[in-house]
């Protein structure tokens, strides 16, 4: 197990380095930041001064060298827009995104697992049909549309919740609810499918022959086996949320990492973009390792 974790950590570090190199050069292809930052009628001298100040005049390879040596010290440089260290801005935004992702995924997992398992118990029953219908609708509805409709309905017309921003508990309700719908539909379907095949398995037959009640058959014998394929999908969906739910964060004016990243890309604030990519990548690598550990915890046949 320890050597497995070591290997995974090294593999993750290598991919991370590759990612950093790729992103640095790709972001330099998007154009000259001076054109964006300075007024159209700015003089050549002031443009030159700006370039000199931010090291944009050095050859690319020198810029990259400076960048890497800074990185080793976890110094991503300052944000051009915000005049604060890029990493600070990113970590602040990431904390918001992490909270949003954690709350949403916890709700999704608990509800999808329970509802999906019960739907699987009576395949083709009324409960199964209703949940299948709504989960499919949820999984296929575009979230920007749901977000806008929700704002119009619940904030503008009914006035129950604020339209955007953060601050009170009420501010969280709409973003969480909108982000909830799609992963809920998807994971519910995976739980249901996985549970149907598990409930048809030979060991469930044994449990019935032993006289085990229905509830432990589903939630003891069934669930732990059914969760194995589900975890993979959960990881995938959680990764999407950690990356920042760009559209939803933008619509609700939620100060998460997705919104920060989009803003920084538009403003060519390279150091922030890089720091944001770095932080979310690390988070996703950590989460994948946690998922691998979870596999081994759930299934004693998996040993690394």
């Amino acid at each position: 197990m320890k050597s497995f974790l070591g290997k995974r950590a090294i593999a993750s570090a290598i991919s991370l380095i590759g990612l950093i190199v790729l992103v640095f050069f790709l972001s330099r292809l998007t154009g000259d930041p001076t054109a964006l930052y300075l007024p159209v009628d700015a003089s050549l001298e002031s443009r030159e001064q700006f370039r000199e100040l931010h090291g944009l005049n050095d050859p690319l390879i020198v810029q990259f060298g400076t960048y890497v040596s800074d990185l080793v010290r976890f110094d991503f440089g300052d944000s051009i827009r915000r005049s604060e260290p890029a990493l600070d801005a990113v970590l602040r935004a990431f904390a918001w995104t992490l909270q949003l992702a954690l709350i949403t995924m916890s709700l999704v997992i608990v509800t999808a697992v329970i509802v999906g398992s019960l739907a699987a118990f009576h395949v083709g029953g009324v409960f199964d049909r209703i949940t299948t219908f709504f989960s499919l609708v949820g999984a296929s509805a575009p979230d920007f549309w749901i977000a806008i409709v929700a704002i119009v309905l619940f904030s503008v017309n009914l006035g129950w919740v604020p339209t955007s921003g953060t601050g009170t508990l009420w501010h969280w309700i709409l973003p969480v609810a909108v982000l909830f719908i799609r992963p809920f539909g998807l994971i519910l379907q995976v739980v249901r499918g996985s549970m149907i095949s598990v409930l048809g398995s030979a060991y469930v037959k044994t449990a019935r022959a032993k006289g085990v009640r229905n509830r432990p058959i589903i939630f003891v014998h069934g669930l732990r086996n059914a969760m194995l394929p589900v975890i993979t999908v959960i990881g995938d969906q959680a990764a999407a949320l950690l990356n920042g739910a760009v559209v939803v964060e933008t619509i609700f004016g939620f100060p998460g990492v997705g919104k920060l990243m989009i803003d920084s890309i538009l403003q060519r604030d390279f150091s922030v973009v890089l720091a944001a990519i770095f932080v979310t990548a690390v988070a996703i690598f950590v989460m994948n390792i946690l998922i691998d550990i979870l596999y081994a915890v759930l299934d004693p046949r998996i040993r690394y």
Binding site: K205, R208, V212, R213, R224, P300
Partner: protein, 542 residues
């Protein structure tokens, strides 16, 4: 019959609603079981032999199943009229069941100790008490080091131990009836004998009624008092095990008894002085530090059937895979007409693949479900394009299907549209497509019913006579080998422990291992089996 039997099934009929229409799984089935008695339900796949047991345990899903009529009386009460909660309460406490494949019937993610104790906790036994009783049971069914094994998982046990654990689980609450559905089919012969002996012992201890569902006349002969023979959902014959074997009344029973291998004439060895087509010297295969195959040497003559027998893990399949280069040998040589298969380059090996073909155990898995029979058989010509021009493929496939006894007009059908025996014929036709000299059959008929088995064996023998084929026949079923092989090789723990002409191995085995193997295989005649059993007990007593 004076007293009411413990369990009685009366005129039970069960239908299954399928896409293809209604299937009558069992029709008007009646039988009874008394305390301390062993009743066997004998039948081939699809005979409906398990359906009444599933109905007793409430394991039939309705729909698609439907209990059309009949009663199941347990101590005089019709369980079909009970509430599902009352029936759940009977399960495990009064009536218990064990199944064919213990690995898939044990939950892979829970410890065996938990699963045994669960039978008791599900019926209200306190956890601590259930745990100590589970430990007792594990010791009773013969799990070595049972205290430490309490927290082990099913995959950490051998097949025989898993079935013992299933038995412990089933008998935890001392049920009045144990239903055993093919309990030893997946086990080696020596392990089968031990498990059957354990069941009998426990039956004598507890006085439970034992309902044994099986396809194996040998198992019936070994343990059953009475037997019910089923064919396509109906009981065709019932009586004591001895009466049914010696004086079968129904043609189906007669056919079933005639198909049991191990009673025919043994083949004489081929004459000496013929040059072998395959000569294996010192073939060895290591998997890490595990020696799967150790210094195996053997020869195969043209037109000869060499059987390799041994229990699971003895290295039979590793030998076959190494010969086919599906595994690379660690050392040794295998000379095919003087050329070494083990060191041969890929190009030469490719042309040689024509000569050596393989037929696998499970045709359902070894045939691609998305390819038609024509595609499956003609694929060989596509891989080896120089053999046959495309214009002649169809005619050749037709010829091959004729040869294996299939209707050539069905060549555009898919594997799932055929029965198990027919599928194995397709696999044989595929292996014959390239006119091989040697066919390696890895448990090629083990998954088939006895009557189908004998048809396929007749086919293989006929092909050998006509085409001069050699077979390397890997099997665990000794009676089958006895009827079919010229020469027998016995393997144990990766080594060849004995080899010789079939008559010598079966009539004068030199090794104790071989003797035990032969003694453990079951004869369909209850009298002969009773005699063998007393011999075996005497041997064990020494």
């Amino acid at each position: 019959m004076g007293e009411t039997p413990l369990l009685e099934v009366r005129n039970l009929s069960v239908d299954f609603h399928t896409v293809g229409g209604k299937v009558h799984a069992v029709r008007n089935v009646s039988w009874h079981l008394s305390r301390g008695e062993t009743l066997a339900i004998l039948g081939e796949s699809g005979s409906g032999k398990s359906v009444s047991a599933s109905a007793i345990m409430n394991l039939i899903d309705c729909p698609p199943g439907e209990i059309v009529s009949g009663e199941i009386l347990f101590e005089g009460q019709d369980v079909l009229k009970m509430s599902s909660n009352a029936r759940r309460d009977l399960n495990g406490r009064r009536i218990a069941m064990i199944f064919q494949d213990p690995l898939s019937h044990l939950n892979p993610v829970y410890t065996v100790g938990f699963q045994i104790a669960e039978t008791m906790t599900a019926h209200g036994t306190p956890r601590v008490q259930a745990r100590s009783r589970a430990l007792e049971l594990m010791a009773r069914v013969g799990i070595p080091d049972h205290e430490a094994k309490f927290d082990a998982y099913p995959h950490q046990f051998s097949g025989g131990q898993r079935q013992r654990l299933m038995i412990a689980m089933a008998l935890a609450l001392k049920p009045d009836i144990l239903i055993a559905d093919e309990p030893t089919t997946a086990l080696d012969v020596t392990v089968q004998a031990q498990v059957l002996a354990l069941l009998e012992e426990l039956q004598q201890e507890t006085g439970m009624g034992l309902l044994l569902i099986t396809h194996d006349l040998g198992v019936v002969a070994e343990v059953a008092d009475r037997v019910v023979v089923m064919n396509s959902g109906e009981i065709v014959e019932a009586g004591t095990a001895s009466d049914v074997y010696h004086d079968p009344g129904h043609p189906y029973t007669r056919k079933l008894i005639a198909a049991v291998p191990g009673t025919g004439e043994m083949a004489a060895p081929l004459e000496t002085g013929i040059k072998p087509i395959l000569e294996v010297n010192g073939l060895t295969k290591h998997f890490g530090s595990f020696i799967a195959l150790d210094d195996a040497s053997l020869t195969v003559l043209p037109g000869e059937t060499v059987a390799i027998v041994g229990e699971s893990g003895s290295g039979k399949s590793t030998l076959a895979k190494t010969l086919l280069r599906l595994e690379e040998a660690t050392s040794g040589e295998a000379l095919w007409h003087g050329r070494d298969l083990v060191t041969m380059g890929q190009r030469e090996l490719f042309s040689l693949r024509r000569d050596i073909q393989m037929v696998f155990q499970d045709p359902t898995q070894s045939l691609n479900p998305r390819m038609s029979v024509y595609d499956i058989v003609s694929e060989a010509f596509a891989i080896h394009p120089k053999i046959l021009p495309r214009s002649q493929w169809k005619a050749r496939v037709r010829e091959l299907l004729d040869q294996v006894g299939l209707d050539a007009n069905h060549m555009n059908r898919y594997p799932h549209q055929f029965s198990g025996g027919q599928r194995q014929r397709i696999a044989i036709a595929r292996s014959l497509a390239l006119e091989p000299k040697l066919i390696i059959c890895d448990e090629a008929v083990s998954a088939l019913d006895v009557s189908i088995q004998s048809q396929v064996m007749t086919l293989l023998t006929g092909l050998q006579d006509k085409l001069g084929l050699s077979y390397l026949f890997i099997a665990h079923d000794l009676p089958l080998v006895r009827d079919f092989a010229h020469r027998v090789i016995v393997m144990q723990d990766g080594r060849i422990v004995e080899q010789g002409p079939v008559a010598q191995i079966f009539e004068a085995p030199r090794q104790t291992y071989t003797r035990n193997l032969i003694a453990a295989s079951l004869h369909p005649d209850p009298e002969i089996q009773a005699r063998r059993r007393s011999e075996r007990l005497a041997m064990a007593g020494d």
